[in-house]
Symmetry: C2
Subunit: 286 residues, 2 copies
Amino acid sequence: MTDVATTKQEIRSRVAAARSAGRSVGLVPTMGALHVGHRALLDRSVAENGFTVCSVFVNPTQFGPSEDFERYPRQLEQDRLLCEAAGADVVFAPSPQEMYASDHTTWVNEERLTEGMCGARRPGHFRGVTTVCMKLFHVVVPDRAYFGCKDYQQLKVIQRMVRDLDLPLEIVPVETVRDADGLAVSSRNQYLSADDRVASLALRRGLLAGREAVRGGERSARAVAETVRGEIVGQGRLQVDYIEVVDAETLEPSAPLSGRVVVAAAVYCGDTRLIDNIVIDVESKE
Amino acid sequence: MTDVATTKQEIRSRVAAARSAGRSVGLVPTMGALHVGHRALLDRSVAENGFTVCSVFVNPTQFGPSEDFERYPRQLEQDRLLCEAAGADVVFAPSPQEMYASDHTTWVNEERLTEGMCGARRPGHFRGVTTVCMKLFHVVVPDRAYFGCKDYQQLKVIQRMVRDLDLPLEIVPVETVRDADGLAVSSRNQYLSADDRVASLALRRGLLAGREAVRGGERSARAVAETVRGEIVGQGRLQVDYIEVVDAETLEPSAPLSGRVVVAAAVYCGDTRLIDNIVIDVESKE
């Protein structure tokens, strides 16, 4: 039976008991509405740790005022059952009031990797993400924390925060899980109509076309981005929020493209924002 | 024998060994040039913990471009001997390169308590302080960390950071230590000439005069500040950087003065900046 802790004190005492029993601790931080992508994170944590905590917290500080905080799906009992099926030990599902004091005034800011991509389009988003992750890391004190690669920028920002602030834990990246049609699984996919869903596949097709262009010898980031854009807008139903082709570690321009690069894109399908990315090892020209 | 660790890895392994032996860990974070004020912190940590780490790190990120980073006193062997005399177990004295990656981009910001007082006069100062303390807390992972009350704003900012970010440690405030003449001990006092030293006593006299005014029934923050200012500028040799009379917890205006307030001041004696403060319980009028 996987139970739900709702207070910091409760989860701390659960983790302390596991520690006393000599078990290592894995944390899977989520906003709930768990799907097979989260399941992959949980499976990995359960395989690698004696005790797995899945946090379920729709973090208000990472949503902009016009974003979908209110309508973001909340389904704690379903989430608990998925955690139980995965063999996680406890769900940590605090209220916003439990997580944030009413006079909360301290923030963690990564100032460079957050400049472009989602950071540029969602002001304050990453400040909310880094701050809530720091809090969760301090409450749970895990040995390892698991993040999906779908939000590539988030993964890189969290890894940078851990390095810069010397957090004594390991960030474990886990491959993006896709449905059979290639769409990256996301809690926001449940917003999509059947037609939206079909249209959304152009995001992945665009990224694959970008990779083909690089493999075919294209070394201009702009040209690769235009290839991706052509595939996405050709679909007719998607609006491009951004397409960036940048160095996979620094998220800065790579010109000409070399080393390892990431093609990352965000699109709107109606009101629903979807992100995906592809990492490409650029072969040096002989 | 108290030895010196210069790398994060080294101090982590020393602390891990102490933990394995069941010892609790106290941290005294300093910039070195240790004096009897630091000694009071060390004594308290040694009394309360099985293992005491004294960090000695002149943190570049908390100095402004025109401040005294370069001339700040450095005397590691003397510091080591003082730590040894106090019974501390290890000195952690990393280089700036060991502490900060060359592409460090993550900062901790307390955004409210840092607005006035030293925060207003030293842009970026507290960002450097909170960030380096966060790093030290993650490297050493102490049960308790010891801070002097002389830098009252720093103490409050660190306490707020620990609360807001859920750091699993206790901040222990330690009373300001004064020389027999009343001057708060400070590493910067060694910059003072004999005449400067005499002049500097007006800072403490001003704060005491402010307290007398409150005890005498004054409830206007401005009037109390003017009393303090009169004593300091009457001396002739000191320039006032700021004098603030604010709520002791929020550091915000208290009008009329009530509850617990702090009178905090910074003065220049030549190029040397000195700070001091006094906390006053305002008695409600009957």
